[in-house]
Amino acid sequence: MISVNHYLLLSAILFAIGTFGVLTRKNAIVIFMCIEVMLNSVNLTFIALSRHVGNMDGQIFVFFVMTVAAAEAAVGLALMIAFFRNKDSIEVDDFNILKW
């Protein structure tokens, strides 16, 4: 029988993978995708717990997370495009005029 813990662990693994990606990738878009992986793992947690707990709040939360993800995607990609126009790159190594 697949219990809620299975889902929780699976989402933990996905969360960790997402984190790993954020920490290791240099391409901004890929980093953004990794963040999406993290958010999705959270979503999975929510939905699993929602069923476990027995109310809909978690699922509603997922609904909003998706909304937020969409909004962030729009803004984030717009920012990347703006940056790309100026620097012709979206490598995070190039985000380095602001430091120290």
């Binding site: 939360f61 937020v68 909004a71 703006a82 940056f83 005029i97």
Partner: protein, 486 residues
């Protein structure tokens, strides 16, 4: 079906969201106005948004002492929320006042800027009044997304792009942790309502030792700690503050930070009461770490905006002290401190807005040499703000710091207070460096480009009045902060 609508309508309590509702409405109207305005004509949008904020402010104040809750417990417009909302409104007003001329100078007069600030403020209000993690989360996102845009607003300027991007990525990243925390809390308590979480823990004391609960609480706080720029989640702050348009930096350091603190306080004090033991020790450490990081790194900064960014990290550390205290004095102190900080920091940035050249390359220590002689009023104003940031009487910074540390000492955290004071002593150095440049060095430039335009001056003067009034007669607002306590 009829029943459902009835039920939904019953939950609606517009009074509980009236300020944010009005503000959002104004935001949308202004959005339309700016869309239909001629290119480059934004002044009227600015003034209208100021009017919108003033009206919202009056509506907000009208709700003082009339707590309203609604939307099935999603929101509670109590004094606490009102107080923080007012801080955000003040911050937004002061920011908008200084923005119009700035945008024109930077050659980017885009009307949407103002509605975005209004939306940010509305988001901040939801954060402050939200009693459901969902409301808070969405308020936070409205605020954050607007700020991502505002930070990266100068899309043709690399530093602004970079600021926006960094803020965006790290913000999204921290959102991941926050959400994970919410999810875990939800798993343990079955609800996302703050009150519900508290009630569950009260009913099931084991929950307080449940590792999932603890981890959830901590991960949730990571999101807030990120927003208030507490170490080690502070690292975005200097880069973003430096790269963002200066008025936005000013705004970010005051309004959104206050909102973040509002949500932070409500979540910790009400929702995570069961974790008091863990959290106070955690905050103790983070407070010290934050102020130390902020103050120490600020010492070696040359760029004033960046220096003030580090200073704002340090101030977040001071404010955290109020949370460590975990008593009414400490909490009121945070509110009061955020108000004070709004005046002094926005004031300081307003001066920077005025003295910057296009592109703002001159906002370095060397760039402001002799400012006090060439522009006496700005010099004096900046001095007042800096002294307030240092925490010297008779400025608001002092009374604020006093309030904060009074809370800590009352709660017995004398050593924390001592470390905080030593930290302020360290901070004196870099604030003084600015004054040294302004007054003790001979001017190298004539500052002829500085135009003392009315709105910015109004903003500076309001800030000065605020700083001095709160410094000399802090009683009334301290009292209000007390009444606004949870």
């Amino acid at each position: 079906m009829e029943n459902l609508v009835q039920e939904a309508i019953q939950n609606v309590n517009l009074q509980a969201i009236m300020p944010s509702l009005v503000l959002s409405a104004f935001g949308m109207i202004l959005l339309m106005i700016s869309v239909f305005s001629k290119r480059g004509r934004t002044t009227h949008v600015a003034w209208l948004s100021v009017a919108a904020l003033v009206i919202t402010g009056m509506i907000t104040l009208a709700g003082w002492n009339h707590p309203q809750s609604g939307f099935a417990g999603s929101v509670l417009l109590d004094n606490f929320a009102t107080f923080f909302s007012m801080i955000c409104i003040v911050a937004a007003t002061l920011t908008i006042l200084m923005s119009d001329d700035y945008l024109k100078r930077e050659d980017f007069p885009v009307g949407e800027y103002y509605p975005l600030i209004l939306f940010t403020t509305a988001g901040a209000m939801w954060m402050a009044s939200g009693t459901d993690l969902m409301t808070i989360f969405l308020g936070l996102e409205v605020l954050s997304v607007s700020l991502y845009v505002l930070a990266g607003f100068f899309r043709d300027k690399l530093s602004s792009n970079e600021a926006g991007l960094k803020y965006f990525f790290l913000g999204a990243f921290s959102t991941g942790f926050l959400l994970y925390g919410v999810a875990l809390l939800y798993g343990v308590t079955g609800t996302t309502k703050i009150q519900g979480i508290a009630a569950y823990v009260q009913a099931n004391p084991d929950a307080a030792t449940n590792t999932m609960f603890i981890a959830g609480g901590l991960l949730l706080l990571v999101g807030f700690l990120f927003k208030v720029a507490a170490a080690p989640f502070h690292m975005w702050t200097p880069d973003v503050y430096q790269g963002a348009p200066t008025p936005i930096t000013a705004f970010m350091s005051a309004g959104p930070k206050a909102a973040a603190f509002a949500a932070f306080i409500r979540v910790t004090i009400v929702g995570l009461e069961g974790m008091q033991g863990e959290l106070t020790s955690l905050f103790w450490l983070l407070a010290v770490l934050t102020m130390t990081m902020g103050n120490f790194i600020a010492l070696s900064q040359k760029d004033i905006k960046r220096m003030l960014a580090y200073s704002s990290i340090a101030h977040a550390g001071y404010a955290l002290v109020g949370l460590v205290a975990w008593n009414t004095v400490g909490l009121s102190a945070i509110m009061y401190y955020m108000l004070v900080y709004t005046f002094m920091n926005i004031g300081a940035f307003a001066v920077l807005v005025l003295i910057g050249k296009k592109g703002e390359d001159n906002l370095t220590l060397d760039g402001i040499a002799g400012l006090g002689y060439k522009k006496p009023f700005l010099g004096v104003a900046l001095c007042i703000f800096l002294f307030s940031l240092m925490g010297l009487p008779p400025t608001a910074g002092f009374t604020g710091k006093f309030y904060i540390f009074a809370g800590a000492i009352k709660a017995g955290y004398v050593w924390l207070a001592v470390l905080g004071m030593l930290n302020s002593a360290v901070s004196l150095y870099y604030y003084l460096r600015i004054i040294v440049q302004m007054y003790f060095k001979d001017p190298t430039e004539d500052f002829a480009w500085v135009s003392l335009n009315l709105p910015t001056m109004v903003s500076i003067i309001i800030s000065i009045v605020g700083v001095l009034y709160l410094g000399i007669m802090p009683g009334s607002l301290m009292q209000l902060a007390k009444l606004a306590g949870l």
